[in-house]
Amino acid sequence: MKLTRRQLATTLAPAVALAQTAAQPAAAADDELQAARNRVKTNGETLAGQAVPMAVEPAFQFKA
């Protein structure tokens, strides 16, 4: 089968990336997810400690 350069790149790129991923240390997905959830929680706690006057609106605008 003859492949164009683009087809070859599309075929090979994921394989290359997957091979490199496989070389990563095998950190358990569950541990990663728990760590990410912990960061969300820690961020929330940090933000909860910030005093904001009631009149301060979020930094985005709704335009009618």
Binding site: P14, T21, A27, D31, N38, T46, L47, Q50
Partner: protein, 484 residues
Amino acid sequence: MAAPGNDVFFATAAELNARLIKKEFSAEELARAFAQRLEQLGPRYNALALSLKEQALRKARAVDKDIKREHLHGPLQGVPYAVKDLLSYGGQPTTWGAKPYASQVFDHSATVIEKLDAVGAVITGKLSMVELAGGGGYRFPSASLFGPGLNPWDRTRWSGGSSSGSAAAVAAGLAPFAIGSETSGSIVTPAAFCGVTALRPTYGLVSRHGAMALSWTLDKLGPFARSAEECGLILQVIAGKDGKDAGSAGRSFYYTPQYARPLAELRIGFAAADFADRPDAAARPAFAAALDSLKACGVQLVEARLPAFPYGALLSAILGAEQASIFEPLISSGRVDELADQSQIAGLKASLEIPAKDYLKAMRVRRLLQEAIQLMWGELDVVVAPARPGIAPKVDQPLSPPPGAAASANRETTPRSAPAGFGAVIPAGNLAGLPALVLPCGFADNMPVALQLVGPPWSENTLLAVGKDFQSRTDWHKRKPPDA
């Protein structure tokens, strides 16, 4: 007409355009030379996402006809360039650097590509990037459909993220300029690691229509180029109102160095600790010398620091909540597991769990942050800090510790607590929508390091004026990698 020689690969856009107008070579010949070089050498740095050689040659032939008729469109006419694969190009794959989108094709091109096309610039290809611009937080440089971005100065080191290919391509002479994007650090970091001048514009100045959305309130597009002046010329073309981008500020930009304020009037804030203590030891001499070069420009250097805010937590909450909404279909479908980096996958999944109250609180604190930084601009015109405190890391090393090893975020620029001085200027500048100019300023261990200048919204001309003067006194931006 002679074929372009190797000297074109590190010439500026303005120089190339002048040679085209003088008919030293044709736009078609120039496009062919750059497109071939991108095809041949792009994979060497994992920088090439997609060659657009045939489209480039077609466009260049049209440009040649325009030049022949003396229909001239400015200094980018006939100049090749490439874009981060986060931008759509009609009818061709746009992968966002991520396997789940490897076969994605849009029927329209991004506004910045249309604007560059209108002045006769010639797109030669699309460039690699960290998957989904790294919003989930990635642990390894290999977090990309294209493999880890390899640094032209040392291919055992990372080219930075998430605009990895944009910085590497300009550094290696694969394109005279490139377009990248920044949500928080994705222009500044790769530009610093690869020794390339780059500009992050004020939020809303450049349309993001046709670009992948990661965070509606943080995303920006900007140029990587050979000098501050080139960044100004490119920004003039890509800036402007666009009804297709809800975040468009409706402003244009005109690069007007002739109207720049005298540099002696400028008060530039800096923190001595940012230059003397915070950088890696090997980089400190380069940063100290860079500060001296800046002083030689005649500006007033004033000791200062950022107002105290939890920049990392703010950025994480805002970016996380916005990306969760944007990529909810990917995450909920389970296809998120096809991404290359486990930390990125976990970060995206966890972002779905950010409470609305946290996002809204972060956006309200962001308002206070904007006001505090606005007050700072009453005392200062610009701030300066190292773009990154050290050189590019090794490509096979993790960018952050594994789970449990340390309670720190792995997003590239989100320290948990604000370091003294301007150490948090990347998240702070992005949260406040501020422009930044990255200026290569020396070497450490044979790798480039860079300064970043940050100013108030819409102060691009001031930053560019300082950058232009700095670059008239130094030649770091002209250095090229030994084997490029």
